[in-house]
Every structure is written in structure tokens, then in C-alpha cells.
């Protein structure tokens, strides 16, 4: 039995009377884990609390907060989910002032499963488990090291499997636009599979995830055909770090590059002629 479940249960029990609800995971029928809002009226549900597999909690808390803007909530979050909530806060999708963060630290196996570089929380005041070092991402390194024709062949093959379920967009906590460019026939053709090359769906999505992707890997996990789509996002995240000195979810006060007017130094780092 994971010690973290007991510790987490105690913390939740303690803060449950002070808040309107604590968002966590609960084991349902058939051992299927799903997000659940624990409330003080039904503390017995805490016995069914689970911590793995992780679910896209930032989008769930956004959903709840939109229906109940004044509610005081707490949420059990891993490193990626915390980063996700910070990014959503910056884009005015979430009011973090009404949300208490309970930081759940990932274990080595969980971090390796997600190929996560930052499996720990930074902003959460309450912490469960021991923070560990990030792990390497061999798949991204492998693809980054490929030659250009190899990359093209790899992605052509991967994208030709896509069944356009829009799952990677639907599950993404950072995809919160009301009007989605991927649903616009001008950009993404409907009624054609496999999609034309270059795949507008994947490349447009990769562009839109610039400085937004928090490496939670939910998109890769939900993909029915197993496209490692987050590799694009991670590679771009490295460039964003280099060009704009911006890391998603790291600093709450830092403005995302989408909202910035470039300073002299930033402009030179992008590598354009001037």
C-alpha cells in the first residue's frame, strides 16, 4: 500500500471542513479511477480515494469554478497539474486565489512512465510524498537526433495513423479556446483520412501549444493510435526557454511570451535578421 494515500487522506480530512470541496481521484466500479469532488457532507467517500492513473484535473477544476465562481476549493495536484493550473491562471481561465493546492509528489516509476523532467510541485504549500529528481526523455532525444529525412519519414508514418478523434485536444487542459482553429474547415479538412501532408492538424496544434504545454502527457496517453505528439511540444518548449526565457508554470508573475512586446535582447535571441 502506498504511504502517500494515507498521508493524503489525512491532509484532505483535515482541510475538508474548511473548503467547499477537494478535487481528487476516486476508484469507481471495475477499479476505474476518475476525478471526484470530495465534500464534507460525505467524508466516507475518502476510503475510495486513489492517486494513479492521473487524470486532467486542471480542466475539471476549471469546469467546477466556472459553475461556482465563489466556491473555495482544494485540489490534489502533481507537478504537471500544478504547472497546468498556473498557466490557466495566467490566461484568466482559473482563479488560483480560491484554490488550495495539495502537492502530490510522483514516484520514480510514475515519473518514468510520463518521461517527466519535473515530477514535483513548486507552489503547493501542503506536500505529500518525497520530491524526486526528473527523469530523462529518451524518445524525444532520439527524435531530436534524427536527420531531416528520417524525421520526415517518422512523422509521416505517425500522422498517417491519426483517426482525427480530437482526443489530444479535448483532454488538454491548456486547450480552452471557445473557437478552435482545428474545427475550421479552412485549416483542417473534414472527411479525409489519412490527413494530407504536411498534417495541418498536428502542426497547427503544436504551434498553438507553444509556451502552453506543461508536459503532462495526457495527449499521448489518450491517443488511440499512440502518436507521441507531445514530442513536438517539448522540443518547442526548449526553444521558447532559449528565445523568451520562459518556462511554463514556473513563475506565477511572469507573463507568457504571447502577451509580450519584445525587448531588445529577446528579439536578438529569436535569430531573425535585424
Amino acid at each position: 500500500m502506498d504511504k502517500r494515500i494515507n498521508d493524503l487522506g489525512q491532509i484532505i480530512e483535515k482541510i475538508l471542513p474548511e473548503v467547499d470541496g477537494v478535487l481528487g481521484l476516486k476508484t469507481g466500479p471495475g477499479g476505474i479511477v476518475a476525478p471526484h469532488l470530495f465534500v464534507k457532507e460525505r467524508p466516507e467517500e475518502l476510503e475510495l480515494m486513489a492517486i494513479w492513473p492521473k487524470e486532467p484535473l486542471p480542466s475539471v477544476i476549471r469546469l467546477i469554478q466556472q459553475a461556482h465562481p465563489e466556491a473555495k476549493l482544494a485540489v490534489v495536484c502533481r507537478g504537471c497539474e500544478e504547472r497546468g493550473m498556473v498557466e490557466m491562471f495566467k490566461h484568466a481561465q482559473l482563479n488560483l486565489n480560491n484554490v488550495t493546492l495539495i502537492g502530490l509528489q510522483c514516484t520514480q516509476e510514475e515519473a518514468e512512465f510520463c518521461r517527466c523532467a519535473e515530477p514535483f510541485t513548486v507552489h503547493a504549500k501542503m506536500i505529500v510524498g518525497q520530491p524526486i529528481e526528473g527523469v530523462a526523455d529518451p524518445l524525444t532525444e532520439k527524435i531530436a537526433a534524427m536527420s531531416q529525412p528520417e524525421k520526415l519519414a517518422f512523422w509521416k508514418e505517425e500522422f498517417s495513423h491519426c483517426i482525427k478523434c480530437y482526443g489530444c485536444r479535448n483532454i488538454c487542459a491548456q486547450c480552452f479556446c471557445n473557437v478552435c482553429a482545428l474545427e475550421d474547415e479552412t485549416w483542417v479538412q473534414t472527411g479525409h483520412l489519412p490527413m494530407g501532408n504536411p498534417s495541418m492538424y498536428h502542426l497547427v496544434r503544436a504551434m498553438h501549444m507553444t509556451a502552453k504545454c506543461v508536459a503532462c502527457r495526457e495527449c499521448e496517453e489518450t491517443c488511440p493510435v499512440g502518436i507521441p505528439i507531445a514530442i513536438h511540444f517539448r522540443l518547442i518548449a526548449r526553444d521558447v526557454k532559449e528565445m523568451f526565457n520562459y518556462e511554463t508554470g514556473a513563475v506565477i508573475d511572469q507573463k507568457p511570451p504571447q502577451l509580450l512586446v519584445l525587448e531588445e535582447g529577446d528579439y536578438e535571441r529569436t535569430g531573425l535578421p535585424h
Binding site: I32, P53, G167
Partner: protein
């Protein structure tokens, strides 16, 4: 009290049997989440499954039976509608024989519901005229 919970269910669209969690907030369905550890769908869904909650509150959805009276469809109770259907079935069967009746079932029904439809056709009405939209 805020009530948010997920209800595990099977996708209503095709016969694959993918499972997903219906997110409900204060008693209303608000979205779909794939069931990650489910043996069949393994956390994946197709575009139909991802939008399976959309029709639930659709304004075009029929919420009660309609009966055509004087050329106009009018809402009625289940009691009235089922009595009418049963009466007409018996009448047609008596006048023109059981093979004058056919049954069309739906791919959106569960296996068990489809089984009931064919059983009803064969055992109660006495015809083999059973068909299904997914057979096309």
C-alpha cells in the same frame, strides 16, 4: 453543496464497447473523460465517444412519445402510446398475418436491448422480419 462526480458507462455508438466516464456537475452531464485502465478502450476514444454527451440535452431530442392526430404530431403519455402500438400490432397481425410486420432496431441500443427486439419479433409477433441499421 457542489456535486461533481464521474459515472462509468459504455459508449452508445458502435459495438466496440469503449468505456468512458460521464462527468456530471450538480446533476447535469457536462463532459466525457476516457477511462484509462479500461480493458477495451485503454484510455482512448474516437470522435463519436468524445462527443457522446452532446445529444443528452439537445433541444431536438424527443423526451416523450408523439402520436399523429389529424395530421399533426402531438405529445402524449407512455401509457397512451404503448396502448395504441399494442392495439395496432394485434390488429395488423390478425388482419394480415405476422409477416406483414417488420422490426428495425438500432446500433445505439445495447446488445441486450437488441436481443429483446428480436425475441419480441420472433416469439411474440411471430415473424423473422428483423433488421438493424448497422447491417448495411
Amino acid at each position: 453543496m457542489i456535486e461533481y462526480k464521474n459515472i462509468l458507462t459504455t459508449c452508445p455508438y458502435c459495438g466496440t464497447g469503449c468505456a468512458f466516464n460521464l462527468q456530471t456537475l450538480d446533476g447535469r452531464i457536462v463532459g466525457v473523460l476516457p477511462a484509462k485502465k479500461h480493458v477495451i478502450s485503454e484510455g482512448g476514444l474516437c470522435i463519436k465517444g468524445w462527443n457522446a454527451h452532446d445529444f443528452v440535452y439537445h433541444k431536438d431530442r424527443l423526451t416523450r412519445p408523439l402520436i399523429r392526430k389529424d395530421g399533426q404530431l402531438a405529445g402524449s403519455s407512455w401509457e397512451e402510446a404503448l396502448t395504441l402500438v399494442a392495439g395496432k400490432f394485434s390488429q395488423i397481425k390478425a388482419e394480415s398475418g405476422p409477416d406483414s410486420i417488420g422490426f428495425l432496431s438500432s446500433a445505439k441500443c445495447t446488445n441486450e436491448e437488441n436481443y429483446i427486439v428480436q425475441k419480441f419479433a420472433r416469439a411474440v409477433i411471430g415473424t423473422n422480419n428483423v433488421d438493424h441499421c448497422a447491417r448495411l
